[in-house]
């Protein structure tokens, strides 16, 4: 029993001891961490000490100042050496920097910008960047090695934009609207705004539209290495004759340029105009007697129209004839006269009738409605007058024969 008690007391004592020692050690460790930091320590690093760029490109990278000491520092920075003709400076977002404040335990990031001269020879160039604390205790020096590679190699890269289209040739009538779909693929690393140009035949309307949207655009913003589909809407001139028409689409942003060749094949339009020379669509006719009206057919399309025939929608027992009955071919802009003979039924009632004439050409039909007024034939009127004259003459004869009795 006693033994048992003593074990228990011991374990409690031990636990208390362990927990005490643990808390002590942790405070000790924290003490150690701060105490391990030197009073003053500052380092400088370049983001990429060695780079390779194509000729003509600029350099832009970060300089990282890191304060590892316990006190804040002011650091002077300078570019001490640079190849001849290069422009280089250290910047922040706003200023050109000669000195920077780095709080204890924090980083300061400055931007190094360097611009090689117009046409640098390929090869390795070096820039020296030096930094020192204001009191001169810490001095740091970093070397940036830039390897400029020949322009020929980078030419493709710098063009930077590619145009592709799945359907470069479209076909249709002159009055149709054509829409090409073009994929603009930017190979540039950075964002860019591309201007869109198109060159087509005179009097044609060419517009750029975003895919599936109806607004017109003239420029396009693309992120680096992204692509976007652009629709090219083409309205041919209504007078354009049938034929092939090339269209050049160009996309450019600075030096980056892309070109695509498109083609439209016009098959011509089909349009017929039907009318009468006097524009009068009414006609007088007598029962059973043919009445004549002249009609003209004009090809207003840009393609020749073949096999134009005529159909008439007329009352029963009426006759409608055409001279000639059909036109074999009508060239664009050509005019042809047609004589229409309308013969009303012998017993047609007087009054107005509608007779429809349908002109059926190649891919074009025209309906023309004529108003036929059937009038009474005057022949019976004369016969009636003759009868009356005859009867009155008979009466007069009677008067003469029997009168004066």
């Amino acid at each position: 029993m006693k033994n048992h008690f003593s074990i228990r007391a011991l374990s409690i004592l031990l636990g208390a001891l362990i927990s005490m020692s643990l808390s002590v050690s942790s405070t000790l460790a924290a003490d150690n961490d701060t105490s391990r930091k030197p009073a003053r320590l500052i380092t400088m690093a370049l983001e990429y000490p060695g780079i390779e760029i194509p000729a003509g490109d600029d350099i832009s990278m970060d300089i990282i100042l890191h304060n590892k000491g316990r006190s804040d520092e002011d650091v002077n920075v300078a570019i001490t050496a640079k190849p001849e003709g290069w422009q280089a400076l250290i910047k922040t977002y706003k200023y050109t920097v000669t000195s920077a404040h780095v709080p204890s335990g924090e980083d300061k990031i400055l931007t190094l910008e360097a611009k090689p001269p117009g046409d640098p020879a390929p090869g390795t160039y070096e820039l020296n960047i030096e930094a020192q604390t204001v009191d001169g205790r810490f001095k740091m020096r970093k070397k940036l090695s830039v390897n400029i590679i020949a322009k020929e190699d980078s030419a493709k890269e710098s063009k930077g934009v590619k145009l592709t289209t799945s359907f470069p040739v479209l076909q249709g009538p002159s009055d149709a609207e054509f829409e090409f779909s073009i994929e603009v693929d930017s190979k540039l690393i950075e964002d860019a705004i591309f201007d869109l140009f198109a060159q087509g035949p005179k009097n044609w309307t060419i517009n750029f539209k975003p895919a599936y949207e109806s607004k017109y655009i003239s420029s396009l913003r693309l992120k680096g290495n992204q692509s976007q589909t652009v629709a090219v809407e083409v309205k041919p001139s209504p007078l354009a004759p049938a034929g092939e028409y090339p269209i050049t689409v160009r996309v450019s942003s600075g030096d980056a340029q892309g070109e695509a060749q498109l083609k439209i094949v016009l098959t011509g339009t089909y349009d017929l105009e039907v009318g009468t020379p006097s524009d009068i669509l009414s006609l007088d006719a007598r029962q059973g007697q043919p009445a004549n009206i002249s009609m003209y057919i004009k090809n207003n399309g840009s393609a020749a129209n073949h096999n134009i025939s005529f159909l008439s929608f007329k009352p029963e027992n009426w006759k409608v004839e055409f001279k000639p009955e059909r036109i074999d071919v009508l060239e664009p802009g050509a005019l042809q006269q047609i004589e229409v003979l309308v013969t009303p039924y012998d017993e047609a009632l007087l009054g107005d009738y509608a007779v429809n004439i349908k002109t059926e050409g190649e891919k074009a039909t025209k309906n023309t409605e004529f108003r036929i007024t059937v009038k009474a034939s005057a022949a019976w009127g004369w016969i009636g007058i003759a009868i009356i004259v005859f009867v009155i003459a008979g009466l007069a004869g009677l008067f003469r024969w029997l009168g004066r009795r």
């Binding site: 029963e316 009054g351 009738y353 029997l402 009168g403 009795r405």
Partner: protein
């Protein structure tokens, strides 16, 4: 025709002062006024909802109020005027012995019959014109529509046809008054002819057409049409039918034919419906011209026959 003036004057004076004429005229005036009043009320109801009514004025004559329109009235009872004016023209003079007295005057015999017929025509003209004018005036008040030139033209033609039509019956009456000595006989004969032509002919035409065309296939439009054609051809022998067809067509611009039944194809209907418009006056006139000519011809012939008989009759022996 030198001595016709005094005869005409005397006859007109006789007509206008006779009770017969006054009663007749009063009766007809009353009936037509009642008719037009009814029609006036009816037109307002008929035109309710019609966007742009045309030829409203003519409807005064054609629209039937409660019983009949004016056109129908003149067609049926206009002949009575002619008959009553003429049935005793000659035989009354003869019976009273005034005819020989008249002929002993320096007057030619043809002057007498010409003058009597002309006097009748003038009376008929005055009567019908005054009725038409009365109706027009009343219509202006009741309906408040002013007739256009074309409407006036149509009414004028209607007036002329009506005068010719009633004159025909006057001629028939005069003919009977020459043939029959008895006034009663001539009156009855004239009435019989009137009833025969006005009522029996259309019935008889119906019966004959039915007999000629077998009635078994009533549904066949061809047969029905043939039957109607026969019936029409026969009934055209009646002056009443001639008159009704002519006036109905001249006074209704929308009527394009005098026929009552017309065969029309589907397309024809469509074609006509496209420009459903009235006929012009000249076209309507051409449609009814044969009817007018026929009426005029039978009128002249009926007068010529009575003239012929009267001129060749023995008069002094009575």
């Amino acid at each position: 025709m030198s001595g016709i003036k005094p005869i005409l004057k005397k006859e007109l004076a006789d007509h206008f002062s006779s009770y017969r004429f006054i009663i007749l005229f009063a009766l007809i005036t009353m009936v037509s006024m009642i008719t037009v009043y009814m029609v006036g009320l009816n037109i307002q109801r008929e035109l309710n909802g019609v966007a742009k009514p045309r030829f409203v004025f003519l409807m005064l004559f054609t629209s039937s109020g409660t019983l009949f329109s004016l056109v129908d009235f003149v067609a049926f009872f206009g002949p009575l005027v002619g008959l009553i004016l003429g049935f005793d023209t000659i035989n009354r003079e003869r019976n009273e012995g005034t005819l020989s007295k008249l002929l002993s005057q320096p007057i030619f015999r043809d002057t007498i019959i010409n003058g009597k017929f002309l006097a009748g025509v003038v009376v008929i003209g005055v009567m019908i014109s005054s009725i038409v004018l009365l109706i027009s005036g009343l219509g202006l008040i009741v309906v408040g529509v002013i007739p256009g030139v074309e409407e006036v033209g149509r009414i004028l033609i209607y007036l002329i046809i009506s005068i010719v039509y009633v004159s025909f019956w006057l001629g028939i009456a005069i003919l009977f008054s020459i043939i029959f000595r008895s006034v009663a006989t001539s009156a009855l004969a004239a009435l019989a002819v009137w009833i025969f032509f006005s009522f029996f002919i259309s019935m008889g035409a119906n019966a004959i057409a039915g007999a000629l065309v077998s009635d078994t296939t009533q549904d066949d439009p061809e047969v029905v049409l043939k039957q109607i054609k026969i019936q029409r051809a026969l009934s055209l022998a009646s002056p009443l039918i001639l008159y009704v067809d002519a006036t109905a067509t001249i006074i209704d611009p929308m009527r394009k034919t005098t026929r009552t039944i017309i065969q029309m194809g589907m397309l024809e209907q469509l074609s006509m419906a496209r420009f459903a418009g009235p006929l012009s006056l000249s076209q309507s006139f051409f449609v009814v011209l044969p009817y007018i000519v026929s009426l005029l011809a039978i009128t002249i012939v009926s007068f010529a026959v009575s003239y012929l008989i009267f001129m060749r009759q023995e008069i002094r022996s009575i």
